[in-house]
Every structure is written in structure tokens, then in C-alpha cells.
């Protein structure tokens, strides 16, 4: 849904045109979710509890509402309406979207999710922190690495040894 806009010809004065199409994507997602809810719960059986409302009533309600809202949203976007991107101190609202940054953060996080059980918390979390800090623009790598290791070891000790929360030990099983 996040393909960059190619229709550079359409320019309105107040809006940045490149947003139009991606926002339409979100609006269509809302619409699509409405359909998904209705279709997805169509097969739910309501054999038990014959009284009152079965398990399909509420999804039907939510799904229909979502379709209605989705249609309005799509129309709104097509007619030129657009939401204001959230303002934040750390965000340069005028900057063009940096898909490389988003992609990098995504890859690092998903790798972390996939490798956590194998590597264990200490290693995986340190790599997560280190990778994210670099992806988000940290310049001093050694410092980032040091902070990463300290943070991951400290959290492991505090929550696993201190509180008995279960986190995977992974590679360091038996060492820590």
C-alpha cells in the first residue's frame, strides 16, 4: 500500500501530492478490513447459545460500519481531503519519506523476532539496539555497541534473575 506516487502531474496547491495515493491505500485498507470481518466470520457457527445474539452479530455490525466508514474515507481522499501527519519534535514534516530508514528498522526488528529464541535475549537485544541506533542515525559505533551490551545484560539480570520473568537464554545458556 505504500508505493511512491508516480502521478506527478496532479498538483494541488495546499497538499503535497505524493501523499494522495498512499493515503488512499490506508482508506482502502479500512474498507477492505470491513469486508474481511464479514467474510472472515461468515463461517463461524453459532450452534450453542441459541438465545440472544450469536457470535456473528457483532462482527457483522462492525464490518458493515467499517465498510461505510471506508467508503466515506475513500471519497474524502478522492475529493482532496487529507489528514495532517502527526507533528513531532523528532520528525521533519517537510522531509520526503525515507523508505530506506523504515525498511532498515523493519528488517532489524523482524530479524530480532525470528532469532530471539535461538540467540537468546542478551545477544538478540544487544543486536537489536545496536542495529536500530545505527539505522536511526547514531554516528559513534563503539559507543552504540557498548550501550547495547550494557542495556541487554542489565535488563536480563533485572528481569530474569531479579523477578523470575522468563526470557530465552539462547547462546548464553549457562554463562549468565
Amino acid at each position: 500500500m505504500s508505493t511512491p506516487d508516480e502521478r506527478d502531474g496532479v498538483v494541488t496547491r495546499d497538499a503535497v501530492p505524493a501523499w494522495r495515493r498512499p493515503e488512499l491505500g490506508l482508506a482502502l485498507t479500512v474498507l477492505g478490513l470491513g469486508v474481511f470481518v464479514i467474510v472472515g466470520t461468515a463461517g463461524v457457527t453459532a450452534a450453542a447459545s441459541t438465545l440472544g445474539l450469536g457470535p456473528r452479530f457483532f462482527p457483522l455490525l462492525v464490518g458493515s460500519a467499517m465498510i461505510l466508514i471506508g467508503v466515506c474515507y475513500v471519497l474524502d481522499v478522492l475529493r482532496g481531503g487529507h489528514g495532517d501527519p502527526e507533528e513531532s519534535e523528532d520528525v521533519d514534516a517537510a522531509a520526503p519519506a525515507d523508505w530506506r530508514g523504515v525498511g532498515l528498522v523493519s528488517v532489524i526488528f523482524l530479524l530480532f523476532a525470528g532469532l530471539l529464541d535461538l540467540l537468546g535475549w542478551v545477544v538478540a537485544a544487544a543486536l537489536l539496539f545496536f542495529g536500530l541506533a545505527l539505522a536511526l542515525g547514531a554516528r559513534e559505533r563503539l559507543r552504540a555497541a557498548a550501550v547495547a551490551v550494557v542495556l541487554s545484560v542489565a535488563t536480563y539480570l533485572a528481569f530474569v534473575k531479579g523477578l523470575g520473568v522468563t526470557l530465552p537464554a539462547g547462546l548464553l545458556d549457562g554463562v549468565i
Binding site: A47, V123, L134
Partner: protein
């Protein structure tokens, strides 16, 4: 370039850790892990952690560790257990609720695959009405139920859980279609208790422990318990005395991963038996108000199989599985 640094770092850490873990294999042979297939705080978690303490007290040298794998009535933990084939150092706490959850969630892994080890405790269920209720005895309830099942709202725990199964069995015994039971699921005994104290529902079903105090104080009235005989300290007839042939114990026990050889199975059974005979376990059972129903070996395996077919039957009759 960044990525290469990252890879180097990963390799170094991996190498260091590999050295470390190599030195630790000797101690692991004696270690026992107990899986509580529920979040901390629930019954299975409590049983697991109590067992952890009790095993440590009879076998101080052994390293025992409890870990939680919550979700979907324990079937997520069950699936994980089935994946650890042949692991002789792993036990999973489970009980009647899991038998129902396996059916209802159409779990890929069933309890037929795992290695039964022991049944530990059980608790009976109690059927109560609010003090203001017109139902004085079980007969009053049965009469009203037969007249119009919709008018009798039954409060209890989650759909398909022990309380719901009792409701289904009672309806069946009373000659009411189990599908017609107007069961109002609550997220635990506390919520159901509130509905009863507020006189919002006709009857309530839960573990004896949840309601006993309020039966004693007179806020609730017991119509019957699912035990084979009366329970000391509680003034209540059994359902059987009242004419409904329903007997059900909400039991808890241990199972081990599939594919255990006889030696490993005996090893675990001996350990659990030793724990059961120790003073720490006896104290904990008394303290928590559990009923000791220890059973191991073939009798427990048979019991587990029988419970599976019984629960499967009633859940289908209640229309809970399609």
C-alpha cells in the same frame, strides 16, 4: 559496511557464548523443567510453582525451573510439549480444562500423544443459587429447567470450561437438551460471583473454593456438589442425592512429552511420587484446600483416556464444536 561490523560482532558473541555453554552440560542431565501452560497466577501456574518448591525440598540437588507458555486453554503449551519429543527432563501441568480446550480449539496435537505421568489433585464443582432465589432444592431447578430452559440462566466460567461441562451434564441428566442451556460465560469465578450476589442470574456453577465462603455466610445457597459423597465442612447435598447422576472432578496432573522410553517415564514417575510423599507437598495441599487424588501409571493413563471421550461427547452434544 555497517552490516559487516554487525556480523563480526555477532560472530564474536556467538563464539564466546559457545565456549560458555559447552562447560555446562554436566549439570543439565539432572535438571527438570515444569511448563505451566497458562499465565502466572492461574491454577496451573500455582500448581507448577508449588510442585517446584516441593520437589526442591525432597531433592535439594536437583535444578527445577517453572516456565509459562500461556494461551488458548493450554493447547499452545501442549503443542510445544509435543515438539520436545523424548525429553525426559520436562513435565507439563494440565487438567480437565485442557481436555475440553483441545476439543474446542480443534488443536492439532491431542492428549493422546503425550506421556501421562500422574494425577495430583482435584476439586469438585458446586451449583449455587442466590439467597433470594425461588429454587430451594435441585428438584425446583429441574422443574423450571424442563418448563423453559431459556428462563434459567446459568453463570459460570469460560465457554467449554469445567463449569460449562457440568451445566451440560446436568441438563442431560435432567432430560433437557444440552444445546438449550442458557449458559452465560464469565471470565472467572469472581465475575460469576458478582452476577449471583446481584441476583442477575438463576444459578451459578464453579469450583467449591470459589463459592464456599458465601454459602457459609448465607448469601448463596448450594443445590448440590459434583462429588461422589458429601464434603466435610460444607453443608450441601451431592447432585446424586438430588437425583441428577452427575459426578465430575476438576483434576490437575502432570504429563510428559511424547516418545519417552520406559526408563525415562519411570524416572519422572518416581520423582513425582517422591514429591507427593514429601511433607512440603502435603502441607501445600492442605494450605490450598486441594483434594489429594494421586494416581500414576496405567490407571492414570486409562483415566485420561476415559475423560477425553466423556468430554468430547458432552461438548459435541452442547453444540460447542461444529
Amino acid at each position: 559496511m555497517r552490516m559487516r561490523r554487525l556480523a563480526v560482532l555477532a560472530a564474536v558473541i556467538a563464539a564466546v557464548s559457545a565456549c560458555g555453554s559447552g562447560s555446562d552440560t554436566g549439570a543439565a542431565a539432572n535438571a527438570l523443567r515444569i511448563m505451566a501452560p497458562a499465565a502466572p497466577g492461574g491454577g496451573w501456574d500455582q500448581t507448577s510453582r508449588t510442585a517446584e518448591q516441593a520437589i526442591k525440598s525432597v531433592d535439594p540437588a536437583r535444578k527445577v525451573e517453572v516456565f509459562n507458555v500461556p494461551g488458548a486453554g493450554g493447547t499452545i503449551g501442549l503443542a510445544q510439549l509435543a515438539g520436545d519429543k523424548g525429553d525426559g527432563g520436562l513435565l507439563m501441568t494440565m487438567g480437565l480444562v485442557m481436555v475440553g480446550a483441545v476439543e474446542q480449539n480443534k488443536s492439532q496435537v491431542t492428549l493422546a500423544e503425550v506421556t501421562p505421568i500422574a494425577r495430583l489433585t482435584e476439586e469438585y464443582e458446586i451449583v449455587v443459587v442466590p439467597a433470594e432465589s425461588p429454587f430451594q432444592t435441585l428438584n425446583d431447578l429441574v422443574a423450571a429447567w424442563k418448563a423453559d430452559p431459556a428462563k434459567v440462566s446459568v453463570a459460570g466460567g469460560s465457554a467449554g470450561g469445567t463449569d460449562h461441562i457440568v451445566a451440560g451434564l446436568m441438563a442431560k441428566a435432567a432430560g433437557v437438551d444440552p444445546k438449550q442451556v442458557n449458559y452465560i460465560a464469565h471470565s472467572g469465578g469472581g465475575e460469576a460471583l458478582n452476577a449471583l450476589l446481584g441476583n442477575k442470574v438463576s444459578i451459578g456453577i464453579s469450583g467449591i473454593g470459589e463459592f464456599a465462603e458465601h454459602v457459609k455466610s448465607g448469601k448463596l445457597r448450594s443445590l448440590g456438589i459434583t462429588a461422589p459423597a458429601r464434603v466435610p465442612g460444607l453443608e450441601s447435598p451431592t447432585l446424586k442425592e438430588g437425583g441428577l447422576d452427575v459426578e465430575l472432578a476438576n483434576w490437575r496432573g502432570f504429563v510428559a512429552p511424547p516418545g519417552l522410553d520406559d526408563a525415562a517415564r519411570k524416572n519422572l514417575t518416581d520423582l513425582v511420587t517422591k514429591m507427593h510423599d514429601g511433607q512440603a507437598w502435603k502441607d501445600a495441599v492442605a494450605k490450598n484446600g486441594w483434594i489429594d487424588s494421586f494416581q500414576t501409571g496405567q490407571p492414570f493413563a486409562d483415566f485420561l483416556a476415559a475423560e477425553q471421550s466423556r468430554v468430547k461427547g458432552i461438548i459435541a452434544e452442547m453444540g460447542l464444536v461444529s
